[in-house]
């Protein structure tokens, strides 16, 4: 069953220009069909979308808030994309970002001698190690024991979420407070604001560095060749002298490290303290984002920006024209569905085309 799923997911993969066109097409489709629903509400879709757009990009403030949503979605989207390319499903980005946030907070609340950037760097690094470790476990179990990583990653999400709950209620609880929250992290552990007067932090730049890194590794290095080979055809990869198990474990670990940045950057750049359920669903949204993005780092960024904008613009749309916020989930779902539908149609077409081969 997972192999069948894998084969099917393969057809989502896009390269080159189509990696950007795919999500753009999906977004247009989603907006178009959702327009029908908006008309049903007695509202002009053009007006609703104008409010949505203004809410997401209208002024510097709302624009940076969109970007603040975009950052964690992009990190988790990249994490899922990388794992997919290596033939493993990382449904555990949620858990990985939770343990990373926990680890980063822990480092962030203790004073550290030395220049400030070392403290931030250390907090990010420890978060990455935590996220990577959280992904290493299912990767290792899958490669060496054949245990389905979809199950293990989902289950480990609950462990991670409850671990954070435990932490903010006990050892990481702010002293003298009864609310389940950690103390705020020190100034020295915070990600610097890169646009004065806004909340946009340095994590934004890190997104692009890592997206480029993922792209470069996948298509310009021998590691990427190994990852993509294992993702495309494990048996052929083995025949080609690739250590499939090692590649699977490392891909999953790297994916966890990417996902960790979503949690760490949120704590170190935005919230400055750890709360229970401090960000919900970003790990799961990542799956939709990766698919919409054609499992390509560039497409993933486009899709993440779209998701971020929808979330951020939805409220002002509701206030201005009375279209409920949940319409954005409809748009998201339609966009992803349209991609799935195109892939299905393509598959059917090719299956017909290949029947001529006589097999």
């Amino acid at each position: 069953m997972p192999d069948k799923l894998l084969g099917w997911l393969k057809s989502f993969q896009r390269e080159g220009l189509s990696s950007i066109l795919t999500p753009v097409f999906g977004i247009i489709f989603g907006l178009t069909v959702a327009a029908v629903v908006i008309i049903q509400q007695g509202v002009s879709p053009l007006e609703a979308y104008r409010e949505l757009f203004l809410g997401a990009f209208g002024d510097l403030g709302s624009f940076t808030f969109t970007l603040l949503r975009f950052i964690p979605l992009a990190f988790t989207g990249l994490a899922v994309t990388l794992a997919y390319r290596g033939g493993v499903f990382n449904i555990g980005a949620e858990g990985q970002l939770y343990v990373a946030a926990l680890a980063s907070t822990w480092v962030g609340i203790y004073p550290l001698q030395g220049p400030a950037f070392i403290h931030v760097f250390l907090a990010l690094l420890v978060g990455m190690i935590a996220g990577a470790f959280w992904a290493f476990i299912p990767g290792y179990l899958k490669a060496t024991r054949g245990i389905n990583e979809i199950l293990t990653t989902i289950l480990m999400n609950y462990v991670a979420i409850n671990l954070v709950g435990l932490a903010v209620n006990t050892f990481l609880m702010e002293p003298g407070q009864s609310a389940p929250q950690s103390p705020t992290i020190l100034e020295s552990a915070r990600l610097p604001i890169i646009l004065p007067g806004t909340f946009l932090h340095a994590g934004f730049l890190l997104v692009f560095v890592l997206a480029w890194l993922v792209y470069w590794v996948l298509w310009h290095t021998t590691w990427g060749y190994e990852i993509r080979s294992v993702g495309a055809n494990r048996e052929a990869a083995c025949y080609g002298g690739i250590n499939v198990k090692r590649v699977m474990i490392l891909t999953m670990t790297a994916s966890g490290a990417l996902a960790s940045l979503a949690g760490s950057s949120e704590i170190l750049g935005v919230q400055y303290r750890l709360l229970e359920n401090f960000m919900v669903g970003y790990g799961y949204d990542a799956i939709a984002i990766a698919l919409l993005g054609g499992l390509h780092p560039l497409g993933t960024l486009v899709a993440a920006l779209f998701f971020g904008a929808l979330r951020n613009g939805a409220n002002s749309m509701q206030i201005a024209v009375g279209v409920p916020v949940s319409i954005v989930y409809v748009i998201q779902a339609l966009a992803v569905l349209s991609i799935i539908a195109t892939v299905a149609i393509r598959n059917i077409y090719f299956r017909l085309a290949f029947k001529k081969e006589g097999r």
């Binding site: 310009h220 590691w223 060749y225 055809n233 052929a236 025949y239 002298g241 085309a353 001529k356 006589g358």
Partner: protein, 506 residues
């Protein structure tokens, strides 16, 4: 004899290709009608139209003179058409009887009526001397008997026309003889048989009439008596083919590969190799003959590091290499043309260019450190495409879009371009047309002249006889004998392949 099935002007197109173009065909009761053609000639498509898997774009189908529409397999079965597929459609952990009953309504719904069906099937078995143990589970039966179950299944469903798709591909020469005997009996009782094949000898041996297909069209329908092999080959390929290429006599050099008492398990954990020993020398081709599934695949996998040996030793030029990993073996310059080119030998979703890198991607000049050198890789791919005449839209085209022959050429190009010292080729011509087969044979012989030691595994005896300097016959994971092709004949090989006798090996 009355015409049972008639096709008039059948056309079937798929995007970009006309698989069947205006095909006419008549099959009479009491005849064995051979459908001859290369791979891709449209034989299987045509049969799928008859069997209700495809609907033809144009044309008419007549059954006993009445026009019929066959929209599903059920329609075909109800008319009296039965098909024995190349890959059997049997449930492996069901018994023979259960397989025969599968999908049929029972007279004791919701319970099975095994007793009654068993009696009826036994009657059929007696009538056509098609004996099989009804209580045996399919996996316990040899392939020849599994095929019988398929035939019984069709007969029990009251088929009067049997379509056999490449039925001899998996059989020993002895089993082929038995199959032919059964088919003769069936047609004597008024059944009709369509026999799909690309093997000329079989056509000459069994067919009453022959229809030759090429590029989706009927080239000719003729009486078997009026045909000869040479003429059929010409009709099939559309040109004269050089049959025998003179092979230079062997000049084997020093020993390259030595295998001692090698043992291994198959995927189910059962012994697949039970102590195999042989050697191959420089410039020598050792052919491994045997019916598919007697340990040949496992042998190739053990020798290339894809499967662990559970006992015995392998030496390469004196160095023990037992259970080395694939990359280490690759670096010793051992090349492997795997049995399943689409699943093992190639990554179908990768481009031609990327597939030329399999196994060498990490080496200079293709990579420097971890960074890949795309311009060198591109040039290398273009060079291979030219040298081996791979027909592809370009090095960036996905391998999925290449024909089977060109996919195999790509594997040959990749594996042979690095001048291997030992080549392990498993069924390298399977599914290829005559032209591509000829190309593969030439390349293999060329390697031999250049001093490569070659292990050539094939289930096609013709091929083994033609290429090998020595032949080792496999049966149930053991070597039944090692002999020289000019000192033996197909019958002897056939007996060894069936495990009926064993030669003393040196």
């Amino acid at each position: 004899m009355p015409v049972l099935l008639e096709l008039r002007g059948i056309c079937k197109s798929f995007p970009g290709v006309k698989a069947n173009d205006n095909v006419d065909l008549q099959v009479a009761s009491g005849e064995i009608h051979a459908l001859l053609g290369e791979n891709g000639a449209g034989k299987t498509t045509l049969m799928n139209c008859i069997y209700g898997l495809y609907t033809p774009d144009a044309g008419q189908i007549f059954w006993e003179g009445r026009e019929v529409k066959i929209n599903s397999i059920r329609d075909a079965i109800n008319l009296g058409i039965g098909m024995v597929h190349q890959h059997f459609m049997l449930v492996h952990n069901f018994t023979v009887l259960e397989n025969i009953m599968l999908g049929l309504p029972s007279r004791k719904e919701p319970f099975l009526d095994k007793g009654k069906v068993a009696r009826e099937v036994r009657k059929l078995m007696e009538a056509y001397s098609l004996y099989v143990d009804l209580d045996a589970q399919i996996w316990q039966l040899p392939v020849g008997l599994q095929q019988r179950v398929e035939i019984l299944k069709a007969l029990y469903r009251k088929a009067r026309l049997l379509i056999l798709d490449e039925p001899t591909a998996v059989l020993t020469p002895g089993e082929v003889k038995e199959l032919f005997h059964i088919l003769r009996q069936l047609v004597a009782q008024g059944y009709a048989v369509i026999f799909i094949t690309h093997k000329l000898d079989e056509v000459m041996a069994i067919a009453d009439r022959i229809t030759v297909l090429r590029d989706g069209r009927v080239v000719k329908t003729l009486e078997a008596k009026a045909a000869d092999k040479k003429m059929l080959a010409r009709l099939m390929v559309g040109r004269d083919i050089a049959y025998e290429k003179p092979k230079t006599s062997a000049t084997p050099g020093e020993e390259v590969l030595r295998v001692e008492n090698l043992q291994a398990l198959d995927n189910k954990g059962l012994p697949a190799l039970r102590g195999v020993s042989f050697t191959i020398r420089r410039g020598e081709i050792l052919g491994i003959a045997g019916v598919a599934g007697n340990g040949q695949t496992e042998l190739a996998e053990v020798l290339t590091g894809l499967r662990k040996a559970t006992g015995g030793k392998v030496f390469f030029k004196g160095q023990e290499i037992t259970n080395w990993n694939p990359r280490a073996l690759y670096e010793l310059n051992i090349a492997h043309i795997p049995e399943d080119r689409q699943r093992v030998g190639l990554i179908m979703d990768f481009s031609v260019k990327e597939n030329t890198l399999l196994g060498v991607y990490y080496r200079w000049p293709f990579a420097k450190g971890i960074q890949m050198n795309h311009s060198v890789i591109h040039e290398h791919a273009v060079k291979l495409i030219q040298e081996y005449g791979i027909r592809t839209p370009g090095p960036e085209a996905k391998v999925r879009f290449l024909s089977g022959g060109n996919q195999q050429k790509l594997i040959l190009a990749r594996e042979l371009s690095r001048k291997p010292e030992l080549l392990i080729a498993v069924q390298p011509t399977r599914g290829l047309d005559i032209g591509a087969t000829e190309f593969v044979h030439q390349q293999i012989l060329l390697q031999r002249e250049q001093g490569t030691a070659i292990l050539y595994i094939s289930t096609e005896l013709d091929e083994i006889m033609k290429l090998s300097d020595r032949i080792a016959v496999f049966y149930k994971g053991e070597i039944m004998g090692i002999l020289e092709p000019h000192k033996t004949d197909i019958e002897t090989l056939g007996l060894l392949m069936a495990g009926a006798q064993r030669l003393e090996t040196n």
